[in-house]
């Protein structure tokens, strides 16, 4: 047999056979069993909402901090830098939540898969830039937290050389993280979560997601 149409007849026979041998576990299909799965999805939504609320609190607190330290350029600029990062994280998270809510799986595949893949790209970019900017901006974060919690201005009390070395260390760590994820990403961890993180950082997941979007565009073209 070489023709798809010839195989169709066999497929129909297979279909009839399936009707006889397949059985659904009706106990697992009861509302009582399906509801926990639904509430698990709601829990995921709840945690995403909690994360968004946390970023919102940080953004507002940083705004207050900037206003209160406008005459201290070192601290104000540090707070502006971390505020820009926090606003970016918050807006990406809100866009992902709205995007996820808008997905209706009963819509055509070409439409839904583009939406799903764009959300995946947004998640990968948020993870990557969140980790990298967090690494680069760790000294400004520290400066803001030390001032806000303990009232200590590390730019005044600390040595200038210490600040410069730590900024450079942050940059170096950022470069080293990308290099290590590209070189050892596949071998570093057995955990799927860590593996995904490594692939996000190395750019492998982004390449795959963009590749799939290209496949979908190609599929839609006649």
């Amino acid at each position: 047999m070489t023709e798809l149409d010839e195989l169709k007849a066999q497929w129909e026979a297979h279909d009839r056979q399936l009707e006889k041998i397949l059985r659904l576990n009706h106990e697992l299909l009861s509302a009582a069993k399906l509801q926990p799965a639904e509430s698990q999805l709601r829990r995921v939504g709840f945690y995403a909402g909690l994360e968004a609320a946390m970023w919102l609190v940080i953004v507002v607190a940083l705004g207050n901090f900037i206003a209160g330290h406008i005459r201290m350029p070192g601290l104000a600029l540090s707070a502006v830098a971390v505020d820009v990062m926090s606003i970016g994280m918050l807006s990406a998270l809100v866009r992902r939540m709205i995007g996820a809510l808008q997905i209706d799986y009963s819509q055509p595949i070409a439409v839904i898969q583009v939406q799903v893949e764009r959300l995946r790209i947004l998640r990968i970019q948020t993870t990557k830039w969140g980790i990298l900017s967090g690494t680069v901006l760790w000294v400004p974060w520290l400066a803001v937290v030390m001032q806000a919690v303990f009232g200590v201005d590390i730019y005044v009390s600390g040595d200038a050389a210490w600040v410069i070395v730590n900024v450079l260390f942050g940059l170096g760590l950022c470069v080293a993280t990308i290099w290590a994820s590209k070189k050892y990403g596949d071998r570093i961890a057995a955990s799927p979560v860590i593996q995904r993180l490594m692939k996000d950082l190395a750019g492998h997941n982004l390449i795959a997601a963009r590749g799939f979007l290209a496949t979908l565009r190609e599929f839609e073209r006649e």
Binding site: L7, H14, L24, Y105, I109, E117
Partner: protein
């Protein structure tokens, strides 16, 4: 809110179309436990969307759209998922005497489907299940002409695949 009557209707329709669930899961997952995870994800998604199901539409078309969309999304993240070991009691869809039910050609056909990309898998499944070009186009979201072109291409590649097997 789903009423008991809705739940009964949902179960009856799902029972009537359980073959779709089986074929989609078998086409997108090679591993038995992954197939079970996928079947459960599809059922939960069908259940969540059932309140919006328009009874004037064919249930099979609606079920195909949801099942294939969930399966493609599942397949795309499959490599980074935590694998579960599922006991027989927890399986939502089971085939009695599964191995004897698949003739050689069907096994080869599943192998051929496995090699296709995510969207072409969907196209072949819909075609083999006897859906019209208009129905396939509506599930996939492409034009009927495009469906016809792609099916012709797939027929040619299947012919090549099978003839290379015979010569090899």
């Amino acid at each position: 809110m789903m009423t008991p009557r809705h739940q009964e209707r949902f179960q009856a329709l799902l029972d009537e179309h359980k073959r779709i669930l089986y074929k989609v899961c078998h086409s997108y997952c090679g591993n038995r436990d992954d197939r079970e995870d996928l079947a459960q994800e599809i059922i939960v998604q069908l259940w969540r969307s059932f309140g919006r199901f328009d009874e004037r539409c064919r249930f099979s078309t609606w079920m195909y759209r949801i099942s294939l969309n969930v399966a493609i999304s599942f397949y795309r993240r499959e490599s980074t998922r935590t694998r579960h070991v599922i006991s027989d009691d927890e399986r939502v869809l089971d085939a009695v005497d599964e191995t004897s039910s698949q003739p050689e050609d069907i096994r080869l056909l599943y192998e051929f489907i496995e090699k296709l990309n995510e969207v072409n898998k969907a196209l072949v499944l819909l075609y083999l299940d006897g859906n019209s070009y208009a129905e396939i186009a509506s599930v996939l979201g492409i034009t009927e002409t495009n469906v016809a072109t792609k099916i012709n291409r797939l027929k040619n590649s299947l012919k090549q695949e099978f003839s290379s097997r015979q010569t090899g």
